[in-house]
Subunit: 152 residues, 2 copies
């Protein structure tokens, strides 16, 4: 039943209460220490490899060197019970809701990284400006759309 009819609110909530993610690859990076890693890709993040599972190799078809893409990761070292944080870990700043920050700590710790592809070698894709730690699982890759990269 791929397109189920809309049911009542209560039943709907029950039906969709959990979803399961399967990593499609993982990050190979010189970054191993969460405390010293840059907080954003444009803050001195190094080049890194995205190493994909061979089973999803055909999903990469169409990605080329020079492309800017969005990588979604699973921030497996994050704390999922955190709803408020001090921005950038600076306790002199007022705590705010995690949905208004890029803190890794949040109910569903999905990382969003905009990177540039610099090389493709089979299931290994080298990218610039990735702040994810070594071993971070990869969930998805998407192209950047023009409407998202222009000021509007």
């Amino acid at each position: 039943m791929p397109f189920p009819a809309k049911t009542s609110g209560a039943r709907e909530t029950e039906r969709v209460s959990r979803f399961e993610l399967t990593p499609v690859g993982s990050v190979e990076s010189p970054l191993t220490d969460p405390d010293s890693a840059p907080k954003q890709g444009d803050e001195g993040a190094p080049e890194a490899w995205l190493v994909f599972e061979r089973a999803v190799l055909s999903a990469l078809d169409g990605i080329a060197e020079g492309d800017e893409v969005i990588v979604l990761t699973w921030l497996d070292r994050a704390h999922r019970d955190v709803l408020r944080v001090h921005p950038r870990g600076d306790t002199s700043r007022t705590a705010q809701g995690v949905f208004s920050t890029r803190s890794p700590h949040r109910p569903n710790p999905i990382g969003l990284h905009r990177v540039q592809v610099v090389a493709i070698e089979g299931e290994r894709v080298r990218v610039r400006n990735l702040e994810a730690l070594d071993g971070t699982p990869i969930l998805d890759v998407k192209p950047v759309l023009s409407g998202e990269v222009e000021e509007r």
Copy 2:
């Protein structure tokens, strides 16, 4: 063990083979038909409500009317076994890997939507330009970073 040490490749893969998502809310939208819904938010998508679970209300603190935010959703009507698609469903175009398209059909069907907040009423947040279907589960909300919205 929130910060486990890096183990060998094989054990690492075994350890992280599945992750579980818990929705933090759902979309209330006039869009109910997958076939007639716009494919992107800037292609005539209507206003919609993001309705959050009361348990995560404090995570919204810091989001204000006028903000541009990124909403991550779970595209629960997608097919997860698809690795190649015809762009925009147009079979006259050559099939390409899903990671180079925004097709909802992909191994981990996470939707990425850039929207503008137009009203906040408690746990209900009204946004402009959301192409997600009515009932779509919400996973996360993040602020747009300046480095991501400028051409570079």
